[in-house]
Amino acid sequence: MKAESDKTLVNSGPYTLGEIREGTPCCEPVPHLQVRNLSVAYGQQSVLDNVSLDIFQGCITALIGPSGCGKTSFLSSLNKLIELAPAARLSGQVLFDGQELLGAPVDVLTLRRRIGMIFQKPNPFPLSIQRNLELPLKEHGVRDKQLRAHKIETALRDVGLWDEVADRLQASALSLSGGQQQRLCIARALVLEPEILLMDEPCSALDPIAAAVVEELIQRLRGRYTVVIVTHNLAQARRVANYAAFFWMKERVGKLIEFGQCQQLFETPGHALTAAYVSGASG
């Protein structure tokens, strides 16, 4: 039983731990998540209307648009964290590797292991650095201490934190700087070997230097993980993303205006609203 759960953890997902692969073409247009006619409402208040798009495997997809247009609601629909808001109502379809997430009952604990999430404000637990990574591993059945230690080291190396914290793994995670905390949170998600990472403005609470480090890290995740990132920083979206989705408020409801390859969306937008937003004329 124990061994089995370890095994499923190690073998799940198409990726194995190792050097993060870089290089272009970084992703293939194989849909990892297919969103069809997704609408989100909180009680009577509709926040997102009829969004359909594909999230491609190994690619970085940026969600851009002004505040309040439903990007975060969209993001947290993908790992069903939106269910924390009791009034949240979802309709439509989200297919993850072909499996329906919204209509059918889903094991959310496994879902959230496979689809990790990074928040705007770094949220390391008020525990030691090591325990921050160990807790989720234990939770998902990795009982072997050595295996855990190995996974923890790998995750910390992946986010470039190992050399900075190797000698103080027992120190409180809250003693790290903001940028280090955010990288620890990314490591905490990566340690579970997810397939998809959802990032909700992961750099916006960091100072410019720390933000640049995290951005570089996100670049390096390309190919190995499917990344969906909400960002208000258009230059960042342009730098990191392969695909971009532009959301806008229409009649106080968030809508997807345009979705496509990032470069295309920025350089030859197909919609007047997109053109105005990416040129800085609106929003």
């Binding site: 999430m117 008020p126 989720p136 939770e139």
Partner: protein
């Protein structure tokens, strides 16, 4: 009468008002400290002469005029143990339910909160009567340490629950979402992250509870009784320290010295227990921060 300059007058008046106000707040603070020091000093001066190791361990004789308070200390600690053993798990569970499992503004949860707040203000003598009717008579526990401890548990529960609930609600919501986003179950999130993070509030609730329970008299007279023998089991009647002090100072002429010495021990006991609670909680916390 010569008109004084506007500036002068206001400055002068301002200075006087300011000085008065400063004097007032300093005076108020000093008064509070003085009252505490007076009580402590009084207890120390009157009690210290009566205090000895013999007094702490020996059984009382001649209605407490002579001898010591050994059995009474044991009864007090046993009653407290029963009270905490009942109140802490139950209280934590209710606090977790209130803070984590109820909708904000839900009617049922709010009515429970209101009930708890009212119960927190109910005089302890009422708890004593309830404990006597329910634990001693209805459940047939009679006058016993168990009945007394359970009555105290009822008494300290409301404040303990509300303090713990407040502590849990103040835990950073980012941690809650972070834990769930990692695919952790709600139970693990509560157990491994939220409760340790709320530990300072839980300790505060515990200290309030211990203080109130240890100092309680009225609720215990009707429930654990006032037999001053060494208790043989939790179903024996036993006299709590506060009951002993009350008895010595009200009913026993010539018992004042022993009453003061007992009061001194009671104060010492509360200090020791609070320090212990704090130390245990810190150890628990650091064990969780450091790898368990």
């Amino acid at each position: 009468m010569a008109k004084r300059g506007l500036e002068d007058a206001s400055t002068a008046a301002g200075t006087i008002a300011e000085r008065l106000f400063t004097l007032l707040v300093w005076g108020a603070a000093a008064l509070v400290v003085a009252m505490l020091l007076w009580v402590l000093g009084d207890v120390l001066v009157m009690g210290l002469s009566h205090l000895s190791w013999e007094f702490i361990v020996a059984a009382p004789e001649d209605a407490g005029r002579r001898g010591g308070i050994g059995p009474i200390l044991v009864s007090t600690l046993l009653i407290l143990l029963v009270a905490l053993a009942a109140a802490v798990p139950l209280g934590l569970a209710v606090a977790v339910w209130l803070a984590e499992f109820t909708r904000r503004g839900g009617r049922f949860a709010n009515s429970i909160r209101l009930t708890l707040d009212v119960l927190a203000g109910v005089p302890s003598i009422v708890y004593g009567l309830f404990g006597n009717a329910f634990f001693s008579l209805y459940l047939g526990l009679g006058f016993s340490l168990l009945a007394g401890g359970l009555t105290l548990a009822c008494m300290i529960l409301p404040v303990f629950i509300r303090t713990c609930e407040a502590g849990l609600s103040m835990v950073n919501n980012d941690w809650r979402r972070g834990a769930l986003a990692l695919g952790m179950s709600r139970t693990s999130a509560i157990w491994h992250i939220l409760l340790p993070a709320a530990a300072p509030a839980i300790v505060a609730g515990l200290i309030l509870g211990i203080g109130r329970a240890t100092a309680e008299t009225a609720a215990l007279i009707f429930t654990s009784g006032y037999v001053d023998r060494m208790p043989g089991s939790l179903l024996d009647s036993g006299r709590a320290l506060a009951v002993h002090i009350y008895d010595l100072s009200m009913n026993v002429s010539g018992g004042d010295g022993a009453a003061y010495a007992s009061a001194l021990i009671l104060i010492g006991l509360i200090v020791v227990l609070n320090t212990l609670a704090q130390w245990l909680a810190e150890r628990w916390l650091s064990r969780r921060i450091l790898n368990s």
